[in-house]
Symmetry: C2
Subunit: 615 residues, 2 copies
Amino acid sequence: MLSPQVAGDVSPEAAASPLLRFLTQCHAEFRSDNGGAVADYIPELKKANPGHFGVSLATIDGHVYEVGDSDVPFTIQSISKAFVFALALETLGADHVEAVIGVEPSGDAFNSIRLRPDNRPYNPMVNSGAIACSGLIHKVKGSAAFDYIRDALGRFAGRELAVDESVFASERETGDRNRAIAYLLRNYAVVEGDVGAVLDVYFRQCSVLVTARDLAIMAATLANNGVNPVTGEQVMKPYTVARTLSVMTSSGMYDYAGEWVYRVGMPAKSGVGGGIVAALPAQLGLGTFSPPLDAHGNSVRGLKICETLSTHFGLHMLNRSGDVRNSIIADYDIGGISSRRSRLPRDQQILEEHREDVRVIELVGAHSFATIDYVSRRLAEKPAPLLIIDFRRVASITTAGGLLLADILRSHTAGDATVILAGIEPASQIWTTIRPLIENIASVRFFALLDQGIEWAEDQVIFRNGGYVAAKNSSHLKEQPLLAGLSDEELTSLAALGTPRSYRAGQRIVAADEPGASLFFLQSGMVSVKLPSGVRLASLDQGMEFGEMALLDGRRTADVWADTDVACLELPIEEFDRFRREHPKIGERIARNLAAILARRLTYANAKIDLLTAY
Amino acid sequence: MLSPQVAGDVSPEAAASPLLRFLTQCHAEFRSDNGGAVADYIPELKKANPGHFGVSLATIDGHVYEVGDSDVPFTIQSISKAFVFALALETLGADHVEAVIGVEPSGDAFNSIRLRPDNRPYNPMVNSGAIACSGLIHKVKGSAAFDYIRDALGRFAGRELAVDESVFASERETGDRNRAIAYLLRNYAVVEGDVGAVLDVYFRQCSVLVTARDLAIMAATLANNGVNPVTGEQVMKPYTVARTLSVMTSSGMYDYAGEWVYRVGMPAKSGVGGGIVAALPAQLGLGTFSPPLDAHGNSVRGLKICETLSTHFGLHMLNRSGDVRNSIIADYDIGGISSRRSRLPRDQQILEEHREDVRVIELVGAHSFATIDYVSRRLAEKPAPLLIIDFRRVASITTAGGLLLADILRSHTAGDATVILAGIEPASQIWTTIRPLIENIASVRFFALLDQGIEWAEDQVIFRNGGYVAAKNSSHLKEQPLLAGLSDEELTSLAALGTPRSYRAGQRIVAADEPGASLFFLQSGMVSVKLPSGVRLASLDQGMEFGEMALLDGRRTADVWADTDVACLELPIEEFDRFRREHPKIGERIARNLAAILARRLTYANAKIDLLTAY
């Protein structure tokens, strides 16, 4: 077994990446293996350079590792079968394709003319099934069929692909066995129309030029549920991808398929041009190129690279672990945490008393049937009339997970309960998966940000329990927490230092990084404290102060915007400083009030940290 | 297609769980399907009640759903083949077993006597391969072989399993075909020793009694990488599990295997007793029981349940998505965040200047080769001499991920860098996977808590940059942040109110929920502020105060413990209140200092929240 830490002939770039170093060392070791023979059943293929050897690995976040002759073009040959099968599924629909072509391993050679007892090809990975696929596409697309196929292969690879015309001519000239298969298929009405035209499509698709890098990206697109990780394009649907990987699993590596699943454990397909694609779902795509083939028709060095990579690291699609309990990163009611909207004491009191009416569940990671089932069981333990599920840190959700989630929401909202889904980006994979499944469920609301969802739920709780008189006109200074404990007389003399101000909705009242020259007491309306990036730190109602940090260090750290028309009292710090020197007892009281306000915020912040790190 | 929201004849329990409701409705629908016939090749099997129908689904966190006759016992039959193959791999080693039994689908019936051209059985899912497996175990365990097998099956099921002696007698009496296979195997030295004894082991293992619930848990153990999710026992190694699932994938469902992979997409095995096990890796295990079989030998109702479940929810092992970018939940240097150890201003200054020397990466979720590769690329972007990787929220790591991680740590520490691994529970799956791979790498340190790791790294930074004179004897009150700005005279008069105290290491100085009657100025030694649960909130050095929140609300919220021998000045709040009434300017200054201290802590807390929610 290769040891990756053995110093080898590696580039500085490779040295920095353990995986690239490993691939480089495998490449160096297997380069000298001269076993196998270049395919010779087509004269043009005999011309291949047996020394060529390229390896590429593409990750599902679109990083591509390359070693050796990874940019040398060669003909894709049988590897096209997997991708054209996928294209046929998407183009004609699964029912149509599955009615014409089976999915059972044949037990025969790839070029066998034997059909199933019902005269259908055994599967799309043998020539008869592949010709049937090309025939289906030709039936729909006519003379545009090949360009349609080449375009699809190009979307898998993330670039436009060319054809090797001399290989095409050679395939066509020597293709009598395939011609016989095609006529037999037409005899059984599996192929319809012009056999020559269908075969031209098939021969041409086998002659498309790819590199090991292309194959890696094509494989990574399959591993990534049909989304090309480099271009970001959804090339095929998840159903199509899963079924394509299925036939690759059972029939992709000729009569070495069982061994391959057992030893390597990645759906794969090889071609007589010397290429292999292998896709490890949700992990990576591998593309190798080395022309000499073994007795099964698989590239000798390509096989070794795949086997060594899988064996050394224990990569195998069935070697998987997971813990569904890790799919929830936080689960709390609003007693532990609140939105960034500051509340008046009376409303805060209502929220504390009814804290369990709002339950927040923050999900994380890739969600599946199993994780959503776990979420459903957690939910059932303690249902709440207002349930908030946050998706911001969810990478993806499978259709299975989405369907189960829809069932859960349907149950949960069947009574009086409301569900709030937060943090789902429009047009994201999660949005497209979930949206159509739940659009007819009443009582489900969407918020871009969790904080907005919590605020809305809090409003509901306050409103349902008699709080929140939004129409109140104005507030007296004695309601300001910062001025708590001051006598009416003291408040009057303090108020005399300030200037009444009014702002229109949408105006900026305070700008970040300005000197903090004054503090404000909000007398009517609502403001939001926001970072210049737009992140909301707090929303404040009448009766609250802002800019109060100026009392400490005289600098602003955030903007304050008027959400509504606003009336407030602006108190210059200079005036205030003079005042507190004259009235040190009042100054002491205000400083202590400020410390108490900060202590309460710190308690909330620490509670939030504990929640976020408790899982 | 079944619609789970259609009201059906469901129990209140089922109504609460969407998944149980779905299974209940499937069960109700397929119960009336009377297709297929009970197996009749053994007289005893003919006695099975064709109306029996049980379904069970076990999740990888150990929850078991059950519908219908899920607790009715029946004989396991061929389903035992998968588990006995696993047991043979563990008992004799993969090399030995794989040399004797192939892994390629046979294309023949399960009871075919035909062997491969090299006279080995095609695979362990056909009778010849299964008898060879039982023979291997018999060779090692002799007359204890059957109990050894029954014990292993029981560990998969999580309970002791019995044998149906009349089925065993019937199998043995009518087993001439299997007898022929066994003698043929001995002819080729695949089976050694007493053929009758080997066959008795085989017939008995087929006669073990299980329920649908047992099968679900057995399948979930395979889905859960070999760990029984109900008992928590690691029954088999991940290698064994992946290879067992491989042969189930390629050969588990007789000559319906290709269709099964394509349509259902879960490794599975059926038996003529009417059972099916199906395992969806990292998600769930399914067990079904219904005696009538179709022409392939698979349970008719069981097949329908599996197909419907897979189709309705889109469950398919190759339908997977993931986003490796979600594997890192936070990535920061110590400028944004610090340990809970408060630092003197000078040391804090050093940490700010060298903030980029410490990089913290917090991982989350199930880690694999792909996620660790992503971590390695993120690391390479900005290497730091002190790298902290937090595993507390990591559910698991595959061997592949562990090997790659070891490579990364080896590269990273090859220079002067130190790596700190935090939050790995001893004896956890992560610990057992990672520990042997990295134990010979120098410069890797382990800390139970991330905070401890950060503190240690901070100490390194301070020490390397000339700070932190730990041996300093004592500190003057003027260094206390709370008393900043007071004149020497003011400090002296304040000090006169206090009483010097000393505590031994390990003593509790302040208890949570006591009235906060005094505040403390730490003059030498170190203390930690902890919640009663043991969670550390802060560690304080000489020159810092504690109990200062008593200035605000007079109540303690945490314990304070002496970490070393400690000398401090205790200032009763009553005295302090009198003092500040007399000296309001000093009182105002101290209250403002307190607000400033809290404001700084709030800034850190908000930074931590932003980090934790930024991914």
